[in-house]
């Protein structure tokens, strides 16, 4: 049934609640060698990891804040690294039983619907609260097949050799300033290993929750998909709204070996005071397939460009992303596809909507290296601007160093046409509902790729965002 247009802004109450701070440890604000040593010491890490962290801290200090365009430059200048808590420990260790999770934290995840989702349709769940994972589980049927799904801190302890073999090899600390910061103070995140030939046919999910004010969350995720294996990983992120800024800076490294298939789905719905500066990169070997399905609704500033390095013949990469920017938000999102081997294919589909003064930027790279003959690249980015105060930028980089390849690039920027609205309203819809329907249709290529439960939730969120768009 059609609803009346209202002047409501986005109803974040389901996610915006906060719990009392009742922590085992909370580092004082500010970043220093002492903080890094303390964090590493509390986790009883091996010496090599401490050295990596300290080296990364040096790199972080040396690297300037990236200059990435007028909007983001201004926004990044607001980020004060001295006012962030870099490590907050909320629980003793990851539990595998919800009843063993501290009550406030358990209440948080129950309100967010995580235990219910786990019972209904997930193969495994990780729940991170502040700096560390507080709950982790994997259904027995998958662990019996050799699947590993752990928080990253536990993986370093339990699988040190495999961890060292891959850690930082896809995204070295010096890759960019925020990768350096993450490497210096990383904590929590997911570690996934799927053995050769094992197909995990229901999703694994991780949920990342920030509760404290002025918090920095720096999870580190490492995923290894062996030959012919398949899996789907979903992450969700929320936080309460505060008047001061928080920082989320994750690093995600993924390796997919010959013939493996992997999908990484993100529904990012951070509060509007969060800087979301994330580096995500996958390597796809021969005939492997990597898909990023990336939804960005919340945050103050998101800078995220999931990438796939297509290293083996006939590897395939796909990024399907949406960005929705409302008042005070800037979604600077995109994708990178790097074709290194012959006959590799990739597709980037990016959809963005800006409204009420919001800004969206598509920033992407399509690169075909010498020798990657027969590569096919398809880039499609569409931006919808809903009012005169909102804006959108498209910054596509294309680097072709091989003659025998095909690249197609399409981009559109526009407003909702009066004719479209008139058509729907002539069928009895109110203007607000017509507008909402057009936006949901615009994003449909994304939502149809989500598991049903997430698609319904995402549509509901966007409808809430659309309220008050008319009049």
């Amino acid at each position: 049934m059609a609803s009346e247009p209202t002047n409501l802004e986005f109803d974040y109450t389901k996610y915006g609640f906060r719990q009392e701070e009742n922590y085992l440890f909370k580092a004082p604000v500010g970043l220093s060698e002492k903080v890094v040593r303390e964090l590493s010491g509390m986790k009883n890490e091996p010496e090599w990891m401490l050295k990596r962290r300290l080296k990364a801290l040096e790199i972080f200090y040396k690297k300037p804040t990236p200059l990435v365009g007028m909007w983001a430059n201004h926004e990044l200048a607001e980020l004060d690294y001295d006012k962030i808590h870099y490590f907050v420990r909320a629980g003793e260790k990851p539990q595998s039983d919800w009843d063993a999770v501290p009550i406030e934290i358990k209440n948080t995840f129950e309100r967010l619907g995580i235990p219910e989702a786990e019972r209904k349709f997930l193969a495994g769940v990780g729940a991170q609260y502040e700096s560390e994972v507080v709950y982790h589980s994997l259904r027995e049927e998958w662990s019996k097949l050799g699947v590993i799904f752990l928080d990253t801190d536990s993986a370093l302890r339990e699988y040190p050799e495999m961890f060292k073999e891959y850690f930082g090899t896809i995204i070295p600390a010096a890759d960019n300033k925020y990768a350096a910061l993450n490497t210096a103070v990383w904590s929590g995140g997911s570690f996934v290993y799927v053995p050769a030939g094992v197909k995990v046919d229901i999703p694994l999910q991780a949920y990342f929750r920030i509760n404290a004010e002025n918090m920095g969350q720096f999870e580190r995720t490492l995923i290894i998909i062996e030959e012919g294996a398949e899996a789907h990983y979903i992450e969700g992120c929320t936080a309460p709204i505060y008047s001061t800024n928080s920082l989320h800076s994750a690093v995600v490294e993924i390796v997919i070996k010959k013939g493996g298939k992997f999908r990484y789905t993100t529904i990012q719905n951070w509060a509007n005071n969060i800087f979301n500066l994330v580096t995500k990169r996958a390597v796809a070997h021969e005939e492997a397939s990597m898909e990023w399905v990336d939804g960005n609704i919340g945050s103050k500033l998101t800078m995220k460009y999931p990438s796939v390095y297509l290293m083996g013949r006939k590897a395939r990469g796909e990024v399907l992303s949406i960005a929705y920017a409302g008042k005070g938000q800037h979604q600077d999102a995109g994708a990178k596809m790097v074709h290194i081997a012959p006959e590799t294919t990739s597709r980037i589909t990016n959809k963005s909507v800006s409204k009420n003064g919001g800004k969206t930027t598509y920033r992407g790279l399509a690169k075909v290296a010498p020798g990657a003959y027969g590569a096919k690249v398809n880039v499609n980015c569409d931006a919808l601007i809903l009012d005169e105060r909102s804006a959108s930028d498209t910054i596509p980089f294309i680097e072709i160093e091989e003659d025998r390849c095909t690249l197609a690039h399409e981009a559109t920027v526009g407003r909702i046409g009066a004719e479209q609205l008139f058509y729907l309203m002539s069928r009895g819809l109110k203007e607000a509902d017509a507008l909402s329907m057009i936006v949901l249709g615009f994003m449909e290529p994304f939502t149809r790729e989500l598991p049903m439960e997430y698609a319904v939730e995402l549509n509901r969120l966007i409808q809430m965002e659309m309220e008050g768009s008319v009049g």
């Binding site: 896809i170 890759d175 960019n176």
Partner: protein
Amino acid sequence: MPAIQIGSLADVPDGGVHRFDLGSVPLAVFNVGGILYALADTCSHANASLSAGEVDADEVCVACPLHGSPFDLRSGKPRTLPAFAPVATYKVWAEGDALFVEYSTLIT
């Protein structure tokens, strides 16, 4: 073997690195524990100068100062992303105090 003198061994003391500008190919020569290595100085990823990078003597590699890919000093291959293409390697040696590299590979 055609060779060209590019400088003196004193330019590259043990633990040191020196960039030699020879024609169109800047060359980075490293001395790791008395063993000499020569690489094309320009990183294959984003054109940074490898001679400005940090050498890891235990791993026999140099990390690109811009994005951190470590290049193997023996093979020129990067061990991690974001670089994926190797840089050229050159045969380098000292005769007394004079430092030589193989000539033909540099000219081409």
